[in-house]
Symmetry: C2
Subunit: 346 residues, 2 copies
């Protein structure tokens, strides 16, 4: 109780530190700003007093005057999906090292975005925003943001968002899926697959749409039939059921190209544990992402990798460059994909 009462007054301010150290409050501010001009010995003394008083500059007050919140907003539809959680983890670590904290928001599971969520986020004034949910147009997102310039992850088709108002500024991370998909198709073709099924992700997902489009294009270029398309939603259970349907109701397939690794796991388990088929002897399976689970022995999945570290580095680069030059022309970083060959094709 006594302790609690003390706590009420415990939060030290710059004024208290200044008084204690016999300096002006401005000096305290400067002590915490490395490139401000302040006598070194004075700075040391101030920092020492600050530590004794357990003083930390208040970010809210700081952001009020500097206009920088040191917050990076992330809007995610599904934090628990392995790929997203990996990315959030790596991104948070990288941004933390640069002095930014992660502000996490959960969009609705169907990838749509509640306008109230955007309004809500706006109140926190994030310095940058990364939208992991893909179907909100730059125009709309920007109208809810002030200083922050949004970053979009764009797959293959550079012309995407061409319909956006020409004045709208956003930065792009361009993921070239073509390489990886081409390698995967070549491998499947080499092992004799003729009839390929595409096990889709969420219908609203642009990544999914582009993945299917690029697969279709690649099959066509290599003189193969267009894919049988199975509706999915990136989850294990839906993929499992869709695979059962394909082989029980539909006409089956030589190979399944899944929109993500988790979907591939569902397909593999349906084939092996319910349909009694062998992977890869009867049916070959390829995934997308290369999440950590892909190398687990039960799956040992051949998959198209998007290199996570590269991807995070690119995103952080975009954020920092944009913050350094808020009015610069649109920035673009490019990322390649490549096939990781394991045991589900052969």
């Amino acid at each position: 109780m006594n302790d609690r009462a003390d706590k009420k007054t415990a939060r030290a301010t710059a004024d208290q530190v200044a008084r204690e150290a016999n300096v002006s409050r401005v000096a305290v501010s400067r002590a915490f700003n490395p490139n401000a001009s302040l006598k070194p010995e004075k700075r040391d003394r101030i920092l020492q007093v600050a530590r004794a008083l357990n003083y930390t500059p208040d970010m809210a007050a700081r952001s009020l005057v500097t206009g920088r919140s040191h917050l990076v907003g992330m809007i995610v539809p599904d934090v628990c999906s392995p790929w997203e959680s990996q990315e959030i983890d790596a991104l948070t670590t990288a941004l933390q090292a640069e002095g930014f904290a992660t502000l996490l928001f959960k969009a609705k599971a169907d990838f749509s975005m509640d306008p109230r969520l955007l309004t809500y986020m706006r109140g926190f004034n994030p310095d940058s925003v990364i939208a992991f949910t893909e179907n909100i147009l730059p125009d709309v997102l920007c109208s809810f943001l002030d200083r922050a310039v949004p970053i979009y992850v764009i797959y293959d088709d550079v012309k995407q968002f061409a319909g956006a108002a020409s004045g709208t500024l956003y930065d792009r991370l361009l993921v070239r899926q073509k390489n990886g998909i081409e390698q995967a198709v070549a491998l499947l073709q080499g092992y004799g697959a003729r009839r390929i099924a595409y096990l889709g992700g969420k219908a609203q997902s642009l990544a999914n749409a582009e993945r299917e489009r690029t697969l279709r294009e690649t099959l066509n270029e290599r003189g193969m039939d267009p894919p049988v398309v199975l509706a999915g939603d990136y989850t294990y259970d839906t993929a499992y059921q869709a695979t059962l349907d394909l082989f029980r109701i539909g006409e089956g397939a030589d190979a399944i190209f899944a929109a993500n690794d988790v979907g591939a796991f569902g397909a593999i388990d349906a084939l092996r544990h319910e349909l009694g088929l062998s992977v890869p002897d009867d049916v070959k399976v390829v995934g997308f992402d290369d999440i950590p689970q892909a190398h687990w022995k039960s799956y040992n999945l051949t998959t198209v990798r998007i290199d996570l570290e590269e991807r995070v580095r690119a995103l952080v680069r975009l954020i920092l460059m944009r913050l350094r030059a808020p009015d610069a022309a649109p920035l673009t970083e490019t990322l390649n994909t490549r096939l990781i060959v394991r045991g589900t094709v052969g």
Copy 2:
């Protein structure tokens, strides 16, 4: 460019709204505070103008004067682990509905906490803090927090943290692992297991220590031998290797009780795919957590469930109650565990 220039002035303030609506700035503030006294028609008009101007109250400025940041800090060692990511997801959703945003911080992977991280977090003035990394004592954590009262997840042993300074205030979520572990041991015993191995989690994890202690106690109560303990770290790869060692170098076991589901997966894969043993015929496996992957057909894991929704509800309840009564006596919520029987014991 023109668009960018406009943006500089785009962020509307309460003053602008007030001017536009012919009211005082105070009225605007009240319009956004539902229980402030304001003529309904006036409030409507203000809100309408606010929407037209795309105005949102600035959280930083608001928090400066109210002392409430509407931020909940979460310190996590490993966002990508399925259990943590599930919990972050559910907690973020629940808190969002209550008007709190999630501020995510990444602790070092070895569960230790950089003091600079705490200092850094302190600057954001979170209303509440949840530490998913377990080995930082309340005394230490509180010394870095001001208004926020930390929440600790405590397993079984209520006397934990008894060594903390008596004045230190923290709230507790008490997880009764005993039930679930007892059910698991009974099931294993019923199927004839005699020699049980405990596949541990991170050595520094209190959850892990208590899980082992409770298992040992339960085995003893039921007249069984103490467990063979395998060092682990909650990861698949380490569990895989530890299981190989147990059967190649060590003396094997009838059953493996893993500290978490992911570890159980590693054990199962090592047994089936490298040691040529059958699960559950040769070796039985029990996990802990019941993450979504536990029901995947390749594993179909029998495991001790900590009900996530219940857990999140309890945590949110603790946060809200503490915010409502900052000086209340320590709060405690209790959570039970129970066995989910699937196919890895039988």
